[in-house]
């Protein structure tokens, strides 16, 4: 038993690093009042350490802490994505102008991010309903505070109250569903649940439970119709936190969704194909409808937005739809497409948020109309933003195209033609609002000031760090595919 615990601790190194850094940040915050971003650097260092710790975990496929969490390539893959995005979020935060008035509390900010990262790490690896819920709440509670961090801002305040009410109710619904599952299967362990359910006749209660859990996770993913918080919260939150919510926590929730549904609610039918269990609820169709609704609503509503954060909020709702398409197809191919999408989405969406943040800093505008003529004042960043947007649209030769290609491919191969058609049409719609940004930047002359704007090297370096993968992965993505190929191993699943 103690040996098991010791082994488990050995597998828990990255999380421990994070917890340690969390503590160090608190201490550092007390000791070094002047060094405002010290917490940030500490977190950054710990995240980089985590990154290396994950590389040590490659190939391990086991479970830890009495089947509470799994350390398997699948979770490592997602944790790598989370760490990368976490690093960028920290870098963004250091430049975020909105946070400057709160610099005496900035240590808390990084501490909360560290907590959130920890929660998300646990989300992607937990194999127990209780653990899942705890990780989920850890992430949520930290994010509630982060959203309201710029508390003098009235928008931030409003978004935080909305977020916490919405989040609490959603997680309440989810845990209610979990309690029903627990009652029916007699266990909180997802493998045991799966085993118990595979012999089960269809039961309406079970279906309701699945729906309730979907509602909870769907809240995190911002999946229609559980997305309503997203636009308001994204708009109100500080930019870096918006990026964190739109990218990192969304990906973590998708990973959790995949693990839960793959392990517990998917069995094997007579022909050896994967099938949903028990047969009471067609949750693949349900998710497909949600995905379609997300794509439709996200893209169409985004057409009308002028605030870039709000526009990106809707756009990320739409992207949640694309991602869920991969879950719907129920195959390893679909899951690998989701992983690829997540990887690509990370860079292009973070890039877009970063640019929006930079422009908010420099031009103090979040309005797309306010972007007029930026292409002539800051050509490099404007071109970069255009490339990110093009990538989000899904045009080659960018990463976004490859991501869409694989998602669409998986869906076509599994026969979800109608879903792909919806996705295709909505991709066309998405062109409008993405290209509108580029249009305003390049097709109009600058109004008022026309001086060129310079960005420091640090900024340029971050832009390049984000831009390079978007372009390179658009034409050469073999390494990512290799990575995914090796990461498609989930503990306890053949």
């Amino acid at each position: 038993m103690s040996e098991h615990v010791l082994n488990s601790i050995g597998l828990f190194v990255p999380e421990i690093i994070l917890v340690a850094s969390l503590c160090i940040i608190i201490v550092a915050d007390l000791l070094l009042k002047k060094r405002t971003h010290a917490g940030g650097w500490i977190l950054l260092a710990s995240l980089v350490l985590c990154f290396f710790a994950f590389s040590a975990q490659s190939g391990i496929n086991t479970s830890a802490f009495f089947a509470m969490i799994a350390v398997d390539p699948f979770s490592v893959f997602f944790k790598v994505i989370l760490v990368i995005s976490g690093i960028f979020i920290v870098l963004f935060s250091m430049q975020n102008k909105e946070l400057i008035p709160y610099k005496n509390r900035i240590g808390e900010y990084y501490m909360l991010i560290a907590g959130m990262m920890l929660g998300m790490f646990l989300m992607v690896s937990s194999t127990n309903l209780l653990m899942m819920y705890l990780a989920f709440e850890m992430t949520s509670i930290c994010s509630y505070v982060l959203v309201g961090f710029t508390k003098k801002s009235i928008r931030s305040a409003e978004s935080s109250i909305k977020y916490i009410i919405y989040g609490s109710v959603s997680s309440g619904i989810m845990i209610y569903g979990m309690s029903l599952i627990y009652g029916m299967s007699g266990s909180l362990n997802i493998f045991e649940i799966g085993a118990a359910l595979s012999g089960l006749e269809s039961a309406p209660i079970f279906s309701m439970a699945v729906l309730m859990i979907t509602a909870g996770i769907g809240f995190k993913i911002a999946l229609v119709p559980f997305h309503f918080w997203a636009p308001d919260v994204y708009e109100g939150a500080p930019m870096a936190i918006t990026a964190l919510l739109a990218v990192t926590s969304k990906i973590a929730a998708v990973a959790m969704l995949i693990r839960l549904f793959r392990v517990s609610f998917t069995g094997v039918d007579a022909t050896g194909m994967m099938a949903i269990i028990p047969e009471g609820i067609r949750w693949d169709m349900m998710l497909a409808v949600m995905a379609a609704a997300a794509m439709i609503l996200g893209n169409l509503a985004a057409l009308w937005q002028d605030n870039i954060k709000r526009m990106l909020a809707y756009s990320s709702i739409a992207h949640a739809g694309y991602i869920i398409m991969g879950v719907v197809v129920l195959t390893d191919q679909g899951i690998s497409a989701v992983m690829l999408y997540a990887f690509m989405y990370l860079f292009m969406n973070l890039g877009t948020f970063y640019m929006a943040m930079l422009y908010a800093n420099k031009f103090s505008t979040e309005s797309i109309e306010g972007y007029k003529g930026i292409g002539y004042r800051a050509p490099f960043t404007a071109v970069a933003l255009t490339i990110f947007l093009v990538s989000l649209t899904g045009l080659p030769p960018t990463a976004g195209f490859i991501a869409k290609l694989y998602i669409f491919g998986a869906a076509i191969n599994a026969g979800w033609i109608w879903l792909v058609l919806v996705a295709g049409v909505m991709t066309i719609v998405s062109l409008f609002y993405y290209i509108r940004v580029a249009r305003n930047m390049f097709l109009y002359k600058p109004e008022g000031e026309t001086e060129p704007v310079r960005f420091d090297n640090f900024t340029t370096a971050i832009v390049l760090l984000l831009l390079t993968p978007v372009l390179v992965l658009g034409v050469y993505f073999t390494p990512v595919l290799e990575f995914i190929k090796h990461s498609l191993v989930m503990f306890g699943v053949q």
Binding site: T331, F408, I412, G424, Y476, K485
Partner: protein, 528 residues
Amino acid sequence: MELQFLGIGILTWILFLPIAGLIIILLIPGDKLKAIRITATAITGIQVILAAVIFRHFDRAIEGINSIEGFQFVEKYRWITVEAVPWFGRIEINYFLGIDGLSVLMVILTALIGFIGAISSWTIKKQVKGYFALYMLLVTGMMGVFVALDFFLFFIFWEVMLLPMYFLIGIWGGPRREYAAIKFFLYTFVGGILMMLVMLALYFSVAVPDPETGEMYHTFNILHMMNPAYYVEGSILAGVDTTWRYVAWMALFINFAIKIPLFPFHTWLPDAHVEAPTPISVILAGVLLKLGTYGLLRISFPIFPDATMYFMIFMAVLGMISIIYGAFCALAQDDFKKLIAYSSISHMGIVVIGIAALNTQGMVGGVLQMFNHGIITAVLFLMVGVVYDRTGKRGLYDFGGLANQMPKYTGIAMIGLFAALGLPGLNGFVSELFSFLGAFEAYRWIAIVSVFGIIITAGYILWTLQRVFLGNTPEHLTSLKDLTTREMVCFVPLIILIILLGVYPAPAIELMNTSLSYLTQIVTVPAY
């Protein structure tokens, strides 16, 4: 046939030279206009030389179309390869270039028009650096579509063109450039999505054995997609004459019809042509429209011979409508550029009825018409550009009596206009002749109706000629200067080609004859 330089094949050179140019241009400071212009011109000039080398070494007797042995200057490398994916087998995407009789003429056309466009771009005054950078990207995109034999690669190049084109129209265009640019983008993007879906469906339907291990894997290789034996049993596009194959053909067709553009998918074209700056109009009409018909011939016809046979009358009818409709619309225009834009619709309709005939004359006529129309319409747009640069106007009513004022210009314009009219002795006639002959053999009445399009064509061309060049020179035009040397450099090679191919088209026809008659054969006499 292999031609290499520094160990890199000639097609890669011709394809990626503009990218090198793009990088060089980005490194040149933005205020060194001349250096930027010369770089762009030199790069496209080298492309023309390479195209000439290809023309020289191209073996006219090899068939191409559906076997790799038939292609020339082939370059095939593994690009994306992931071995032994547990749930999928192998993922493989190839960097696969090659040309046959169908594409060689298009490669030459692209190089030539790209060069002419670069020279005529010297008149661009604002944001020169950005302009030429996008221009270079555009040229690579066009060239790529014509040389790619891997569907994935084809698709990437196909879509790569969109964004540069959007900005080239949107930033450097006329007053309604924004509208025109987004309209162009929208239409072609819709088509692109459709093509992407079909591409994926084909990808999952086709599996080929590895020559060494015998392992089956999916492929984007266009040539493999033409072989019915490679279709996986029970996959979505397997079989013959299935609904899904018809649907896929239709989706591809819509994509290509938008590019061509065929009635009723044509409305982006007048706007885009009118608003685009002159060199971009030249590229648009000269090369971009050909991508549509090229795509039909390279992809739709050989991959879906059954559906092609099923839909060919439908295609021919659309071609016929385009001919007549485009001509009538041209007749109603009072904007010079719009007139030429509609004439393009009409002339591309001739290509479509030619290739829809599915016989050798029609095919040869259609492809030759693609080339010829590229040349002729380039002359016409350059012609409008000349007066537009000088006066800022392009309404037909804004001009008159230019024959007195600009004799050289008038002479060249007349040759261009008469070539568009299909005057024998100029190249337009030859290709129209063969297209009509082919169409007549296949569908008598469609061809007969289409022939009346040439009467209307005569109407609008002569009307333009009379309106713009003849009559008395109005007061405000008496200060117009005749063509400059740079403009002559643009025009002369094109005019020479117009006359040369009009008098003796055999060299061009020989280039493609073998491939096209083979293509006809594999479509009409399918392998299954």
